[in-house]
Symmetry: C2
Subunit: 355 residues, 2 copies
């Protein structure tokens, strides 16, 4: 698969050298030639130690209905760098955009911090940056500050990317993992496990060829649509590392409620199911990068599901369960054969460097 292995620069390719991280001329060349053309915007062009946001303009834009700011950070160390449906560049934008969206924020600005391994091919870096640019455009965010460090060959794995995000939360929004209430419905925006299995396939660890694509997507537009049709969304979370089971466990504990889900309603791509069966994995623990859990008051379930189904990133959404009072802090699953079992948080490591 293209790019599944660390691209080895040949004599025709330029490579990253330690000098690109010196802070001097070579760093400036890298910024001028690669980062600026892709991420160009007025704030970045200020070329100061920090990007400066004109809050005055923002608050006008949002008509003084914003008094909260959301801030998040995420390191991206996925391996391999490229896989079917995405790459570390798209992941680095969507991961942080989604973290902001999950607290009901409108993502506006991201920072990008690169750790490059000496010897990384410039061509690979260009492809990753192009992918970041596309994802940033799709998500409607701007990259307003950055940093590049270079470490010696063997001290990283081609490239690691940190993105940190800045978003604003409208005053009438109150979304938190602590807000789930008994009676609420539990929705998931689509099939689970696609990202983890796509990455595993790119590693050559699947043992067969599938057409599974990673689901990496920016969910902020979908979230915005949902919050426009319902004022009764209580919790949202994107089930990334640790998968659906871990994210639902977190909400059950934070809200001190029980979450009960039905195995038969959980959407899983048949190819993902087959892969999981062969490898002995449970799709409930496999990472997703373009899916979200929505916990909503029962009277709004239909409008939210309709809203999900009308968006490309929510077309396979399903109601998978509900919130109950007891046993508090637990995730229960009714299995396809009718029994009920406790589903715990992921313990140990399933798939290292999945995001």
């Amino acid at each position: 698969m293209e790019g599944a292995n660390c691209p080895i620069p040949n004599k025709h390719n330029e490579q990253i050298i330690l000098g690109h991280g010196s802070g001097g001329k070579l760093t400036q060349d890298l910024i001028r030639d690669f980062f600026f053309p892709s991420f160009e915007n007025q704030i970045l062009a200020g070329f100061n130690d920090s990007g400066i946001i004109e809050w005055g303009n923002l608050s006008e834009e949002y008509q003084n209905c914003i008094h909260r700011i959301a801030i998040s950070t995420d390191n991206h160390v996925v391996w391999p760098l490229f896989f079917r449906g995405g790459d570390i560049g798209r992941l680095s934008i969507c991961g942080t955009v989604n973290d902001l969206a999950m607290v009901g924020a409108i993502p506006l600005y991201l920072t990008a911090g690169f750790i490059l391994e000496e010897g990384l091919s410039i061509h690979t870096l260009e492809n990753i940056i192009a992918s970041m640019k596309d994802a940033a455009l799709e998500a409607g965010i701007e990259i307003i500050a950055g940093d590049t460090k270079v470490v010696e060959k063997g001290k990283a794995d081609c490239i690691y990317i940190n993105t940190s995000g800045f978003g604003v939360i409208r005053d009438n929004i109150d979304i938190s993992g602590a807000n789930a209430k008994p009676g609420d419905k539990v929705l998931v925006s689509g099939t689970i496990g696609d990202h983890g299995i796509a990455v595993l396939e790119a590693r050559g660890e699947l043992g067969f060829v599938s057409d599974i694509h990673s689901d990496i997507s920016p969910l902020n537009e979908l979230v915005s649509n949902i919050l426009n049709v319902s004022k009764n969304v209580h919790s949202m979370r994107d089930p990334t590392r640790g998968g659906l089971a871990t994210a639902l466990n977190e909400i059950a504990k934070q809200s001190n409620v029980c979450i009960e889900i039905d195995e038969i309603y959980i959407p899983v791509n048949p190819a993902v199911n087959s892969a999981c069966e062969m490898l002995g994995f449970d799709p409930l623990y496999i990472a997703n990068e373009g899916k979200m859990i929505i916990i909503v008051a029962p009277q709004d379930t239909d409008v939210v599901i309709d809203c999900l189904h009308s968006h490309k990133y929510g077309k396979d959404a399903a109601i998978i369960g509900e919130v109950t009072a007891e046993p508090a802090g637990k995730l229960l699953m009714r299995t396809s054969i009718g029994s009920r079992r406790v589903v715990t948080t992921l313990s140990g490591e399933l798939l290292p460097r999945i995001c």
Copy 2:
């Protein structure tokens, strides 16, 4: 020197394993046992996908005189992790605090993103976190969001830390690398090169034993004091990677002015000078982590120098030159023997992984 080499965990030490980056139970344990106790605050305790800042409270605190927000990001890959005068933890806080302070912002919140190498001793991580906590307290900032990833042994170098920062800029402040004007005076807040040489010594590359301490310090209080006594500070920059020469070149280019400095006025610790002479380095290019350049209108030079001298991080401050019109974009230095030469931006790499 203690900690100069990657601490090798022995059987009595707990180590970081891949599961600590799973997003599941082990990640939660790490956060609960190590990060939360050190970085505890109300926002972090929300335990959501993003930290949420109550802007309403902020804007009241600053009496509606704030309409701009500063955002910055920095990866820290310094090697070794510990050296005389500091470590990667203190660096990771001060680096980003100073980037915010250099645009005249009041730093308020940081995020922290960790990339840990499998096998890192938990004891080492504890020491680094403790150092971050101390520096955060000194700088008066809070860490409100975080992320931890673990990569396989040999895919990082113990620990890399990204911090991203959020600060606010009062309305009457306008500091930029583009604001230097002919006639302005050029000040530096203290001796240059201490950080770079201290790290070099910790690497065992100095060839003799010195008592040089890294200058890693949060400069936000000093900046606040300066901006209280002068409304005519035009540019500030911390000369980190690339050193004083590179930072002054950046300002000369951004402001389209010439900066002329006098070699004899540039404060250099004699031990740093000796080390540079032995190693063939120029202190003008050596990294600093607790120093700043201030470019100020001539009538305010005295109040700013007095203000610097009254603060522990500015006691060795000096006026080192002035801004002229021509040749625009250049840094000139009058040498100790009276000649004048152009000093360029650092080209190539002097000291990899210095910050």
